[in-house]
Symmetry: none
Subunit: 243 residues, 4 copies
């Protein structure tokens, strides 16, 4: 999405997001400091990082079956043999990459500082944050989609699955409770349903932008369309929460 917007010479959503105080560049986007002398001591760790970055990039664009281990090694600038030494095999690589994108999202979520905000503002922030995370991290959506194509097999086998639980649901529950206590949100809202709606309203738009654009013959990746969508989502959900 970012790419195609950049192609159109417009400000990217990524840049827009940076205008919000809580938005940081994700670890995955950080430029690789291959010869950083400060990291010379723990090269192995750095190699593993590079491998995982490359894996996320390849898997996200090609899917598991379409991804090529050679391509990942090439992207990582590392010998294929080392890749196997570090990670094991393609499946383990997938799982590590999957855990990585989950973890990246969790880290972003942890930077949200909602306590200082009134419930309605906090809720809006949560909603916008999520939407923007999706627009900015197509690799997250792509990997989740492919993992679901595999029926979640890999995730189930992950020993770290418990750690991947999104703090967002907790945050959402807290804000919701605060708002309900303040009388600004309606009662009888299931936080999980709300969470799935918060995510889903943006997920489909982002994940399926290509087919939607083709079928409707519109450019859903333009900044205008993205911002329009964000506002619509806020309207729908805030309307739903109104007492």
């Amino acid at each position: 999405m970012v790419t195609s917007m950049a192609r159109r010479g417009l400000v990217t959503v990524a840049r827009l997001l940076q205008s919000l105080p809580m938005m940081r560049k994700s670890a995955a986007a950080r430029p690789l400091t291959q010869n950083d002398p400060a990291q010379a001591e723990n090269r192995p760790a750095a190699s593993r990082e590079r491998i995982l970055d490359a894996a996320v990039a390849e898997f996200a664009t090609q899917g598991f079956a379409g991804a090529r281990v050679d391509a990942i090694a090439l992207r990582a600038g590392i010998n294929k043999r080392m890749l196997y030494a570090y990670v094991g095999n393609k499946k383990a690589l997938w799982l590590a990459a999957l855990e990585r994108v989950y973890e990246a999202k969790r880290q972003e979520e942890r930077t949200l500082n909602l306590q200082r905000l009134a419930p309605q503002e906090a809720m809006q922030l949560l909603i916008r944050f999520n939407f923007r995370y999706h627009t900015d991290h197509p690799e997250f959506l792509a990997m989740l989609n492919d993992e679901n194509l595999q029926r979640g097999m890999n995730l189930q086998e992950s020993k770290r699955v418990a750690e991947l639980y999104s703090p967002l649901l907790t945050l959402l529950s807290e804000v919701l409770a605060r708002g309900q206590a303040d009388g600004v949100f309606r009662q009888n809202v299931d936080p999980m349903q709300l969470y799935i709606s918060v995510v889903g309203l943006g997920y489909f738009f982002c994940s399926n932008q290509f087919t939607l654009s083709a079928i409707f013959d519109r450019h859903l990746d333009s900044v205008e369309e993205v911002l329009t969508r964000e506002q619509h989502i806020v309207d729908v959900l805030m309307g739903y929460l109104r007492p």
Copy 2:
């Protein structure tokens, strides 16, 4: 989803859906009449049908890259050589299968008879129809996801892309207009945004049920969860539309 619910000995959503007047069995689910004498005259056409059914099944469970042409030929009970004669190659097969799942959804949508209903009832029906279509047709979601992974390349190249335009958007616009004229729906609603919300609220829940179930340690494929979700979606959207 259907399978796991059946395993749990509960009524399937498919059955539930049949209780609604507009629900029919989809083309994809129609039993294959391999030796139907009535079709003996146009065997080629029947063969092509079998190939496409098999392709949808394989592609939907394995994705494009993971699908095996051999497996499709096997599923179709046809010689691999004929498959190439009929369709061309793997990419053409994908496109044909993709057009097929779109077309199948269109056909279902055409059976909806909304004019006879009041706007609010018609809108609810539309919403429920969509959700249930997703729960019952994982192949539709799976193929759309994978097509988006490929950035919609194949769909763009389709000569029939115009035909695939969902009647749902038109239906939705009509019902929306009727409701607005009657004063039961709010003004200033972008039909496309509404459409994307109608779809998205169910899409994410269905498409990502495996990762969601794993992360939240819940069985989102149970009948209860499915029905709960459906009602939530109706609540959110009908609430949004209220003037």
Copy 3:
């Protein structure tokens, strides 16, 4: 062995053996008639034959781990893909080759016609036959050795293992019984011990000819040494059987 003797310009043991009435050329040695029109109808069977011949040759000279599937396909004059289509994988190929060398020996053994001979002559024939089979079929020894290196795992899993039972033990038992009845052989002889001795006295000489030749600095593959060994074996065993 044959090769190195041929190199020395001497008559091969193989030729010597043909002077005995019961000796035939083994199936494995039969020249391949790749384009035999009479076999055009069942090419697949012929291909499988060629694959197995090639597998025996490769495995016997390189062992299981040292053998290369590519080399086998090359020897068989067949595409590697077909090799997998016909046989499955390297392990299945090994097992098929192993069964083949066993079966080849059985077929030779079945051509022995011992009833017409007096017990002592029949016994000598058995002993000589065995020895010569070993000298002529290094592939048999080599594959047995490597299968034992693998602790007989493959053989145990063979569904045809019962069929591979050597008729030789039965023949030996019969001749032994006849001789004992005639009073020309001693009593109290365990046929299996006798069988193992019959085989073992030649096996070690043949199988280990290279290390023996190196350690003793003699050419144990010369015709003279081979014939001397054969006579020694006959002497040892016939002496043992004398009442």
Copy 4:
């Protein structure tokens, strides 16, 4: 063999052998004294020992082609790089291991003290010693087999090949001569033929125990079978030597 007998709760042949005065534990079986302070001075030598022990173990169970240099380094508890520094490469490692098993057997043979025994007793001792060495040292048989698979190439290139010449042939010749002088052994016996028979009668039984057990559906690794075989070998050979 020893293992499976031990499993059956019977005395092991190894233990039986220890009851004979000339039987010692082989060098290969000697426990590794990794941190022996007495050897601290010549650690390199100790490292080389460990490497060779590990190489014998790996090569004997996997063959040359099947053996993994990594596995040998791991077994030896040494860095792979050092392994190359000490020995050179895989082929040199094989040769060193091969020389080691030969040397180990020679050392055992040198402990035999036959002069004190009458010819017939000495001969029996030689025969039993050999058989038991084979049952107790499967690594010896395995490496010899694999070296022969390689057509003795490595052994031929060994500079120490002359040193590996078995003292057994000399011992055998001496005992044979003594017995012939005493009139208790027949004349006209080729010592080398006798030697090959002494070895071969046990070699085949031990080396091929797995295929023999599978084909005959018997447990040739039981103590009873082993002892029976030993007695049979003695009977055959002593019978042959009788004047």
